[in-house]
Symmetry: C3
Amino acid sequence: MDQTLARLEALGHRLPEAPAPVGSYLNCVRSGKLLHLSGGLPIDGERRVLGKVPSRVSVEEAQEAARMVILNRLAVILAELGSLDRVARIVSLGGFVNSEPGFHDHPKVINGASDLLVEIFGERGRHVRTAVGVAALPLDVAVEISLVVEVAD
Amino acid sequence: MDQTLARLEALGHRLPEAPAPVGSYLNCVRSGKLLHLSGGLPIDGERRVLGKVPSRVSVEEAQEAARMVILNRLAVILAELGSLDRVARIVSLGGFVNSEPGFHDHPKVINGASDLLVEIFGERGRHVRTAVGVAALPLDVAVEISLVVEVAD
Amino acid sequence: MDQTLARLEALGHRLPEAPAPVGSYLNCVRSGKLLHLSGGLPIDGERRVLGKVPSRVSVEEAQEAARMVILNRLAVILAELGSLDRVARIVSLGGFVNSEPGFHDHPKVINGASDLLVEIFGERGRHVRTAVGVAALPLDVAVEISLVVEVAD
């Protein structure tokens, strides 16, 4: 019984399939107690959130894209650990926003990811993060997010 | 008695209040021996260093902004550990410069941070780093800097 | 006898001198089992790959630049550990491409690095990664790549 997954579903979310990497890398690698995840993209089957923020993708759409990334990152973690209950702690999050040079609301965009992690994991979901605006992202996605997670023994 | 803090003050620096995060995240999270710090911004009370380098913020001003970030990151570490003497080692630094596309002196800007760490911590302050120029930063700050620190037992 | 180095050379590659950092930082720092490496640049003696992708540097040239960075990162690891056989695992890779705002093939560029690591290390070379396009890089290099490596006991 995965209590974290049950909570996630009770909150109205669902996990997609863990996505295939878009290059020669792995979705996750464990070293010691830490599970490192590759930068995830807002892709869920046919659905993708593409374009720069805020000219083509609004802040609200970019927040939704950040939530999409978190859900597919959690799908990776679930596939790796067998249960989201084994997440002892979300340690750190790296948030990259496909950003117009004059855009400065990156924290608001990445709050979409951070708030969802806290909603699902409670205190275990609270993390450090770095949010920046980059010139371009793979496939022209609106956001890319990496995670480092501590695994319970 | 915090010898590192005493040294910092003897060098003429002072620590600001540890700043509040500008989003849904924590200033720091410890996992094992490592203390991870969120990307810090050049904010000290009412004082902020805003704008792109070098069009609006000069290299010298950006170096000073990098030093401001380090001092508020050290305030976070002090609040967490109780003493800067408990820093066994600055492990890594991520430096993001709010950069015009034709600017290439990021190392000089981030040296403001790296040199200050070595000045304060001596050999314990020497670290690896990644310095890049990004399209935009939260609040339009000139630099953002993240740290990972090893804590003494 | 360094079997990994022998394999690297049998594949037709050669390690350059470990490059000097271009600022006030170290090439690598070990903490616990992890060796952290600074962001490396495509510099090999007089040879440098400079400019934005794809306007000035083609995708193929940028892939070659990514391979150059990996080879000088491996030179750093060899100098630190004495043998590449002591690399238990490439854990994570951060890839920053000096990118035109409309360029989206960062994964293809960074595959130059990832594929080479797998070619040299086999399964031990498979890693997580984050690939983004940044506004500008130090010295105007085409790519910058950081690594975290797990060291065998």
